[in-house]
Subunit: 231 residues, 2 copies
Amino acid sequence: MDFFDAVKARRSIRKFKDEPIPEAVMEQAFEAAVLAPNSSNMQTWDFFWVRSPEKKAGLVEACMKQSAARTAAELVVVTADPALWERANPEMISFVDRVNAPEPVKDYYRSYIPASYRFGLASPLGFAKRLAATVAGLRRPVPRTPHTLRDLQEVAIKSAALACENFVLALSAQGYATCMMEGFDEDRVKALVGVDGSSRVVMVIAAGREGARGTWGPQFRIATGKVVHRV
Amino acid sequence: MDFFDAVKARRSIRKFKDEPIPEAVMEQAFEAAVLAPNSSNMQTWDFFWVRSPEKKAGLVEACMKQSAARTAAELVVVTADPALWERANPEMISFVDRVNAPEPVKDYYRSYIPASYRFGLASPLGFAKRLAATVAGLRRPVPRTPHTLRDLQEVAIKSAALACENFVLALSAQGYATCMMEGFDEDRVKALVGVDGSSRVVMVIAAGREGARGTWGPQFRIATGKVVHRV
């Protein structure tokens, strides 16, 4: 499907038909998701495709039984965790060597990434780094974040959101509907998919074929001129 | 362009050709951006299309003069601010009346949204709400966030990221390249586009026609099987 048609066809659908999604359709959506740009290519995201009937029932509960979750053919939990830099970075270090990337790129993955993502000492170190940035920033432009675990989670959540958008558009492009849900019990969802620590639940995505009364009305956006500003 | 071709063609490009982007191409990308799903349709995002040569030069400085910013034909600053609920919500209240939406939807915009987004008393109220959720959560699923300004900013940043992804894919679908930049001085960028308070800079997007050596190597992702889990 044409890109703009896929964007226009996508609505948040809250009631799905009782019809399965072929596995190949879901797999193509996951492939599109992981092609999303992401911070330093650390891919600090995970996609839990919840297939077991028991876990699905638990997830519907954790989503406060909202109709999108109840009627979905498939449910996907997307999580983000800055600690996952340790999964991708060794692969990136091998990769930049293998393709003989420029030296600054090699240094970036060897030195800069570990320095940025190590947040074991989060609070005191983060405070010191933030103070140093504030002082240096009086004279010249400096990055103001990330200095704390919450900052790093924010970066990871942002990257995961990009992947989520690719995912829902990829389903739209194949004729399927989705609903991005943020109304859930994060603690219960984490336990259900088996993540903990610094991991965050970005969203739960419900997917299926659009059902009758899938939306409560037409699409609405405030005028583009109110949000796009030429400066 | 086909959706999946647009996704596959997108790479983070760090050197652009000295070639302008037609205004209509940019406008179509902004239209796609605002069609992204977003939290409660509060559209807590702003897109600053930086056109003045003085502001552009300032933005390149604030992006630490990275090559993607220096060589970009166009630069767009995307911000997110939970306080913007007050811009969209009155329009949503009129809209749900006009289309005669179901009562729970009308209540959602009349009562639930103001209660969720009013964070003037952020810290003490947030703490009390979080405590109440923890207690209630012992017995049943409850939403764990948002209770604080930072939580609300996280929601707003997540929604803005979805719009950013639509934006870069829309340029890709029209044959143009982009680079999402997170390396910038947030304080200086906020001052430059004229936002303050609870507003956050989500990213600065560089756009243009891909130049020679726009990337330092081929695209790399860790194996999909490592990030997509069937549970």
